[in-house]
């Protein structure tokens, strides 16, 4: 009898465990749903951007036949680059929300592929139509644990944000994570012999690895 009473009292341990598991699973489901919602949002942007880059590529192929389409090509590249830049800022913000699913990381990688496409397209466009704008490629390491590197990257982001705000459509800013193991990007980067990241490549001519100021960058852009 006494044992039965005690067993009833101790039942609360199991009840609490059951309740915790239910609440915890519910919380995780909400978390997953929230993250999925953000990924869907980013994915919608991505699909639009993917269409734009395909459009730009198609236009680039067409430009082989008709030089008069250069203006349209430059304009398409700029619009696309600006969209992708805005989306990169949103992605950066949302990446913070991605704690339990891998979705955001995959989206980041997909965007890096898209931005690599953009870079290639700007190179081709510059070769074909001349350089109508400056291209600034910002290469960073997204998974570094090195605090010095992280701090340097934080400051680079701010400098480049200032630069973009100042120059607007005169520059195309392409941030790319160099450590995502993308075959296309790695192949392009091999040609530049970059020794350390973060690094900035301006118009495929200048490689900057030491932190600098907006003033100094202006010097490269205005050449």
């Amino acid at each position: 009898m006494v044992e039965k009473v005690l067993a009833n009292k101790k039942r609360v341990f199991w009840e609490a465990l059951f309740l915790t598991i239910v609440v915890f699973l519910f919380g995780m489901l909400i978390g997953v749903a929230f993250e999925s919602n953000k990924i869907d949002e980013i994915n919608d942007y991505y699909i639009q951007s993917e269409t734009s880059i395909m459009d730009a590529f198609a236009l680039n192929s067409f430009a082989d036949l008709n030089y008069e389409s250069c203006e349209a090509l430059v304009s398409a590249n700029l619009d696309f680059a600006n969209n992708v830049y805005e989306e990169a800022l949103i992605l950066e913000r949302y990446e913070n929300a991605g704690k339990i699913t891998e979705g955001m990381e995959i989206m980041h990688k997909k965007y890096d592929v898209l931005r690599t496409f953009l870079w290639v397209n700007t190179i081709k466009t510059a070769e074909r139509c001349g350089r109508e704008y400056d291209t600034v490629v910002y290469l960073y390491e997204s998974e570094t644990e090195d605090l010095t590197k992280k701090a340097t990257q934080n400051v680079w982001s701010k400098i480049l944000e200032d630069l973009k705000a100042e120059y607007g459509d005169k520059i195309i800013l392409i941030p790319l994570a160099s450590d995502k193991e993308l075959v296309s990007l790695d192949s392009i980067l091999e040609q530049f012999n970059i020794e350390s990241y973060p690094a900035i490549i301006i118009n495929e001519d200048y490689i900057i690895t030491d932190l600098t100021s907006v003033d100094d960058l202006r010097g490269y852009l205005d050449k």
Binding site: L6, K9, K10, V12, F13, E15, A16, L17, L19, T20, V23, F24, G27, M28, I30, G31, V32, F34, E35, K38, R93, Y94, N96, A97, G98, K99, I100, L147, T148, K150, A151, T152, N154, V155, K158, I159, E161, D162, L211, T212, S213, V214, D215
Partner: protein, 409 residues
Amino acid sequence: MEFITWVYLIYSFIAFYFLFMFILIYIQNRREIFYCPPITKNYSLSMVIPCYNEEKSIAGTMDKLLEQDYPNLKKIIVVDDCSTDDSYKIIKEYAKKHSKILAVRTPKNTGNAAGAKNYGVKFANTTLIGFTDADSYPEQGAIKKMIGFFDNPKVGAVTSTVLVYNRNKFIEKLQAVEYKVIKFSRKLLEFIDSIYVTPGPLAVYRKKAFDDVRGFDEKNLTEDIEITWHLQFKGYLVKMAVPARVYSIAPSKFKGWVKQRNRWNIGGLQTILKYKKTFLRKGMLGNFILPFFVFSWVIGLFGLGIFIYRNTQRIVLKYLSTTYSVQAHTAIFRFSDITLTPNVLVFMGLGVFFLSLFFTIVALVNVREKHYKHQSVFTIAFYMLFYLLMYPILLIISGYKFIRGKTKW
């Protein structure tokens, strides 16, 4: 998932588990919380007050015991542990005026409360033996409310509601909130036979049970924790009479507070080591109380380690970013740096916080004090957001002192 995300999720799970456990115990037993069995037998009782340099409060404590209305309170044994102030003089004056009071003095200072308490017990020959600290004031009728529990022959000890007497300074107000939460949790633990302490301000023991565990352990800094574990070990039940209130003087300075908490933590460690062989054995002591204590240490220290590591990283990163920003002539801070996108960890954290807040409020409401005003919202918020965060830091200090062998009062 990152390692740190796992850590946060595991901590949330543990916090949810214990909060739900306490809330469920409360819901299932809320009608019995204030219940005290009626007195059917007038067990003879002696009260012991250990005293060392308490000239300011000892008279008040004796007055409060003299005011008690339990008819079979035979003796109030006041043990002076060779005080260097006027404590013993005051005790002797009271003994002259009141026949119930017996003034005794230890042959030499015992160095801890346990020694003086054990010494006082030698002068008692009653069925029950109670203790009150010399800086504590039992409310009128408190003792009477504790006696009925002893009708159950398995009950070895009955503890009371300990509340803070002095509530003027902010640190005292914080402790007032803390004591109420501790009191509420202790009562809830009674329903699963897991009371782990019979605090010194007011506790009554069955003399037979007290002798069975050979009294207080004089080597332990928290003799009131040790004796409770010992009683549990021997199979006795420990009960709590919630309506039996005692008001105790809490430390009013930060240094005194830290000292007291270190003593509690070191005593807890001593007790864990003494009963380590009962781990996951021997009823609720080995299956809940001991693992709960060990778990608290592990969780507290590991959590603090993670907290320090993460925040040190943040500070270093902030410092480097600021330095580099200055070098690069760019803004040190901009509002776009603040990202307010919530994530699953934020949801879990908020869940734990609001559940804790609910538990704290229920605990405060369940005190039913007439003479004191309720705590301000600011005090409760500070208690929850900052005061509780001090616990793990104190664990480190206590652990260090324990390893260094600093285990004296």
